[in-house]
């Protein structure tokens, strides 16, 4: 392996990693927000919103991210809507992640037994209070493993961002391989960069899981 090559080109990876983390991070946070809204509308069976959610979920889960990105980047301009590569990346990731998050959060809500809710109702708590004090804290703990898996999944999915001309990690690696045929070094740095991003997040998620499960819920 050519160490000189690595030390010369690694700053490109750092830049790309930052982009991956920023766009991935924003996309994941928005996914969680969309997922929470969808999960709530399905849990409370809110008319209309719930139907929209179901259709959205099917669309989102049954199309690959790359197709969603192509639609945003190449399709929408035909309708006069031109988005930046960054915007496409964030919207695409949110569109994909929202449905995954929604499923995980919903199954968290549904894991709370009817008796718990009835005993809260009997105490005079309102619907919103029951969600806030009784359902949500334990649903969050129950959903956390699935949510962490989604986070890792979405971070990995950012590797198709290069399709919409985002200079992400994959893009840099392909570029270097094409330019210098430095396959070994380029792929090595690619793998290391993903590990550096994903491992700490993975660890953080398991710490959070343990934290949330405190009190033997």
């Amino acid at each position: 392996m050519d160490l000189a090559f690595i030390s010369q080109h690694y700053p490109l990876y750092v830049k790309a990693a930052v982009l991956t983390v920023v766009i991935g991070g924003i996309g994941i946070v928005l996914s969680a927000v969309v997922g929470l809204i969808c999960a709530l509308s399905r849990y409370y069976k809110i008319p209309v919103l719930r139907t929209i959610t179901v259709i959205y979920t099917e669309l989102s889960r049954n199309t690959p991210l790359i197709v969603q990105l192509f639609f945003l980047y190449f399709g929408l301009p035909k309708a006069g809507i031109v988005l930046s590569s960054e915007a496409c990346g964030i919207i695409g990731l949110t569109f994909l992640g929202g449905s995954y998050m929604s499923e995980s959060i919903l199954s968290g809500f549904q894991s709370i037994k009817k008796g718990q809710i009835e005993s809260a109702e009997s105490l005079g708590l309102s619907k919103a209070q029951i969600m806030r004090y009784v359902v949500f804290p334990r649903a969050a703990a129950a959903a956390m493993p699935a949510v962490s898996a989604n986070i890792i999944f979405l971070l990995k999915e950012t590797s198709v961002f290069s399709a919409v001309a985002l200079a992400d990690l994959m893009y840099v690696a392909k570029d270097l391989i094409g330019m210098y045929s430095s396959t070994t070094e380029s792929l090595f740095m690619l793998v290391v960069a993903y590990l550096i991003i994903i491992l700490p997040i993975s660890l953080l998620c398991s710490v959070l899981e343990r934290r949330l499960r405190r009190g033997g819920a």
Partner: protein, 247 residues
């Protein structure tokens, strides 16, 4: 005239085609302890659940202190602060300590003062023999301790009446007594209660009045001594027989 806490008139309840309660009328007066007994599946739990609006009803009315209990209506959260309910399965919130379980409704629903709620929590825990358990989580308690904590959780909202649905049915036999003792103590201090139980000796000791429910109606009603020693109806006699053998 004694003050009526609960007044049920011509209550009709069915699940689909399955009629559970037919044209049922009962009332509970202030300070009274009414024990509801009857064969399994006759609708005792359903009746209690209709009283605090956990079940929709198909006819008749349920009144608490003259105010209608209306299923699914906003007014229910107000009404429910005046009805305590304790379930067979305790249903303490597992992510909260005993004290947090107890303080939830007084703080968040009744918006009472934190200090005052804390003091009353400790006082009530002591009363049911749970001093020192305020900071324990439910999974650190025995069944009997959980059920006593659940009783305190319903007491602290100062309800006009407490509904108890087979609160000892899920307990190991050696824990039944400690829970029944608490209920007997409440009865002595004048707490209005409606109790569903299969413990006949307890029913006899605690009740001011027995209601025997069967086939969707109150078949017999009377003072515990009369009911247990000289039941008037054939159905009540049959029902009591199943218990005297197991005693």
């Amino acid at each position: 005239m004694a003050e009526k806490i609960i007044e049920v008139k011509n209550l009709h309840k069915q699940f689909g085609e399955n009629v559970i309660l037919k044209d049922l009328s009962i009332s509970v007066e202030k300070g009274e302890v009414v024990v509801l007994i009857g064969p399994s599946g006759c609708g005792k739990s359903t009746l209690l659940r209709c009283l605090n609006g956990l079940e929709p009803i198909q006819g008749g009315s349920v009144m608490l202190h003259g105010e209608p209990v209306l299923y699914g209506k906003k007014s229910l959260t107000k009404i429910r602060q005046r009805i305590g309910m304790v379930f067979q399965s305790y249903d303490l919130f597992p992510h909260m300590t005993v004290a947090q379980n107890i303080a939830l409704a007084p703080l968040k629903v009744q918006k009472r003062d934190k200090k005052e709620v804390e003091e009353e929590t400790l006082k009530l825990l002591e009363r049911v023999g749970l001093s020192g358990k305020a900071d324990a989580y439910p999974n650190e308690l025995s069944g009997g301790q959980k059920q006593r904590a659940a009783i305190v959780r319903s007491l602290i909202i100062h309800p006009d009446i407490i509904l108890l649905d087979e609160i000892t049915a899920a307990l190991d036999p050696e824990m039944v007594h400690e829970v029944l003792k608490v209920v007997l103590d409440l009865a002595k201090s004048g707490t209005t209660m409606m109790i569903v139980t299969h413990e006949m000796a307890f029913a006899k000791a605690v009740a001011d009045r027995i209601l025997f429910l069967d086939g969707g109606e109150i078949v017999e009603e009377g003072k515990p001594d009369e009911f247990f020693d000289a039941p008037k109806t054939e159905r009540a006699k049959q029902f009591l027989k199943t218990f005297t053998y197991s005693d």
